[in-house]
């Protein structure tokens, strides 16, 4: 392959974590209410009721303490339509997003409306909460809203008409005094990216797929960088290609004995800074050999994986091993610590 003209390499980068959020007193009572099929609003000093609740009064800056029930029915104040729902959104079929002012509230909540078709959505339409079958104390306990033709509900949840399938809130204690209050929520966040490498890095990776280590020299400071990159000291791209040996010297190292989140290797293992022969900057890598025998100045060599598995990745080098040569003198690598 003509690696010089090959396009820069790109690959997926997926990140995922279930975030654990603690709620504090106001949001905790709000979420506890949702679990119990009640919507609570926060009342500010001016008497206004905010849904979703505010934690602090915008005018007085004091913590809000008064939560009051509002109705599960309300009025759409604005809306839009989604033909192709995205990952994580409340519905997996076309739906409307709406700002909804619940009866008894003075502000609007953003949520989804399961209206079937765009033509069913309009400003001023009446909607009601559709509760999730299983609720944990989370905004998604409101599965979505649905069009409502019944009469307005009063904030205590009673209705003058026949109850719908989701009916009135479950009877029960005020969430403020609930014996099992919700104090936290779990929010999964999963995102997919495409990570794009630079042209220099791509050439380095292509060389790796052929079992070669490629360095480049900075035209300003003349230092050889592995992998090639914009020289961080001079702010100019490295240019002249310099082959680098897969032998080098351990400048310094650390023995990792501790497990941690995101770790990909099983402790204990040794991560060392390896100054490859011909390079002016060390690379971090694993040293596997005589356990407990790794030293500053130790001479090491790359252990490549089976040639058949080589691709455009640094993982082609499994680790480094001690060569048994005499240690490099301290002076030869002290500038690289």
């Amino acid at each position: 392959m003509d690696t010089a003209s090959a396009p820069p390499l790109a690959a997926p980068l997926d990140i995922a974590f279930d975030y654990t959020r603690s709620l504090g007193p106001v949001l905790g009572r709000f979420m506890t209410g949702l679990r119990d099929r009640r919507v609570l609003g926060a009342r500010t000093a001016d008497g206004r009721v905010h849904v979703p609740p505010l934690e602090y009064d915008p005018a007085t800056h004091t913590p809000i303490t008064e939560l009051v029930p509002v109705s599960p029915t309300g009025t759409v104040t604005s809306w839009t339509w989604t033909d192709r729902p995205l990952d994580g959104q409340p519905l997996d079929r076309p739906f409307g997003w709406a700002l909804i002012r619940l009866d008894g509230a003075d502000t609007a909540l953003l949520h989804a409306v399961d209206a079937g078709a765009r033509e069913s959505m309009r400003t001023g339409m009446r909607v009601r909460v559709r509760w999730a079958a299983e609720r944990s104390g989370d905004i998604r306990d409101i599965a979505c809203f649905e069009p409502d033709s019944g009469p307005p509900h009063s904030p205590d949840g009673t209705t003058s008409g026949a109850p719908g399938t989701n009916g009135a809130p479950a009877a029960g204690a005020d969430p403020a005094t609930s014996v099992d209050p919700v104090i936290g929520i779990v929010t999964p966040i999963r995102l997919s990216y495409t990570h794009t490498a630079s042209a220099e890095e791509s050439r380095y990776l292509h060389a790796l797929s052929e079992g070669r280590l490629l360095g480049q020299r900075c035209p300003a400071c003349r230092k050889v960088y592995v992998p090639p990159r914009v020289c961080p000291a001079d702010g100019v791209p490295t240019e002249e290609e310099v082959p680098v040996r897969d032998h080098g010297t351990v400048t310094t190292f650390c023995v990792v004995n501790v497990p941690f989140a995101g770790q990909r290797l099983e402790p204990p293992y040794v991560v060392a800074q390896v100054l490859l022969d011909g390079a002016d900057i060390p690379i971090p890598h694993l040293i596997i050999g005589q356990a407990g025998d790794v030293r500053m100045g130790m001479r090491v060599a790359a252990v490549w994986r089976d040639r058949a598995t080589w691709t455009t990745t640094p993982e082609n080098i499994a680790h480094f091993r001690p060569t048994g040569e005499p240690d490099a003198p301290y002076e030869s690598y002290q500038e690289h610590l």
Binding site: P8, L13, I15, Y19, R21, L23, L27, F30, M31, H50, V51, P52, L54, P58, T77, S78, W79, T80, W81, T82, L86, D87, G88, Q89, W97, A98, L99, I100, R101, T107, A108, L109, L110, H111, A112, R118, M121, T123, I139, R140, I185, T187, I189, L191, S192, Y193, T194, H195, T196, S198, A199, R229, V230, C231, P232, A233, D234, G235, V236, P237
Partner: protein
């Protein structure tokens, strides 16, 4: 007591649907050279560097750290970073010069908006307890604002299309623009909705890009640039986020910022950072811009919206108007957050 401060150089990368590395380093290197050569300044003469970017755009923590490699930051430099559009990095640098802590500064913003699904990533700017878990995307959130403005009679779909048509026509002479053309308003309003009432032309494209801008104090600015764009005022404000809490048809933070800089009525040009057509209309009202003011001769963010540098690029485009003598007085505006939550305005002028 404070020194006068001016913009003396600006450069931007072309806005493209997908360009450059995730780190931004390779894009920034030539950009710094262009901005510094426009300012007749050597990088070693820059007293303060300040950047704006976002880890969530790149999908990894500390993404801005790598970008510092593009500077050549050894010997060490004075440097800072905001997790905001670089327009706010511009503000930080401006303050540093005002305080007498620096005489020159280079400000830059960068981001690869195309690395993830941008409109979904931006859902993470919303309240993490009651809103973000529903993943409302940024286009839908803007659509809710647009409908409120239409229902309130503040904007019309026709007026929104007029903004798009004018922007695209202006962008035909802007080599950095991603979108341009000569559509008629009738053609535009005949297209289908993307997120009712927004059509594709109402929404900024997803753009990769970067921008860099050079600032200098008083005498230093005069020495390096024949016609510096002098900053007569910069201010910024933020509104509460709650989408159902505030009146989304007004932009109090933009109005307050305009009042703080005493935004002059006799502006020649205003470069507004409005990623959606209705937002330009809301901003014109909020800022009190009359019909005489030429809006977005660059085509604006609707024709290229590189996240975290598009706001800085508006200031840069306004400054270019002054530095090239096309305008005596120009304003650059930047926004951040959902539905125009946070706004910055900068007034630039020629001085003899």
């Amino acid at each position: 007591m404070n020194p006068a401060v001016a913009v003396i150089g600006f450069a931007q990368a072309p806005c493209r649907p997908s360009a450059g590395t995730t780190s931004g380093v390779e894009t920034l290197v030539p950009l710094f050279h262009q901005a510094l050569s426009a300012a007749h300044l050597d990088r070693r003469e820059v007293d303060f560097w300040c950047s704006g970017s976002s880890d969530y755009l790149a999908g990894r923590a500390f993404s801005f750290v790598n970008a510092i490699d593009a500077i050549g930051a050894y010997p060490p430099i004075c440097e800072s970073h905001v997790e905001m559009d670089a327009a706010w990095a511009f503000y930080e640098a401006y303050v540093k010069i005002l305080a007498g802590e620096a005489e020159t500064a280079l400000v830059y913003g960068f981001g690869k908006s195309s690395a993830g699904l941008l409109r979904r990533v931006l859902a993470l700017q919303l309240d993490p307890y009651v809103t973000a878990p529903l993943w409302p995307d940024s286009v839908s959130v803007a659509a809710l604002q647009a409908r409120l403005a239409i229902d309130a009679g503040v904007v019309t779909e026709q007026a929104m299309a007029e903004v798009a048509a004018r922007s695209r026509a202006d962008a035909t002479t802007n080599p950095y623009a991603q979108v341009s053309g000569q559509p008629t308003v009738d053609e535009l309003v005949a297209t289908p909705y993307l997120a009712d009432p927004l059509r594709a032309h109402d929404c900024a494209p997803v753009s990769d890009g970067a921008a860099a801008l050079v600032l200098a104090a008083g005498e230093r600015a005069r020495r390096h640039r024949e016609q510096p764009a002098w900053i007569s005022g910069v201010a910024h404000r933020v509104d509460p986020q709650g989408l159902g809490e505030r009146d989304l048809t007004t932009v109090p933070s933009a109005t307050a910022a305009a009042e703080a800089v005493a935004l002059p009525a006799d502006l020649d040009v205003a470069e507004l950072h409005a990623p959606f057509t209705h937002q330009e209309l809301l901003l014109r009202t909020a800022l009190g811009l009359g019909d005489r003011v030429r809006i977005n001769p660059s085509g604006g963010a609707l024709c290229g919206n590189p996240m975290f540098s598009a706001g800085l690029a508006r200031i840069g485009a306004a400054a270019e108007q002054v530095m090239t003598g096309q305008a005596r007085r120009a304003a650059g505006h930047a926004t951040s957050g959902p539905a125009l939550q946070q706004n910055l305005i900068c007034v630039l002028e020629a001085r003899s």
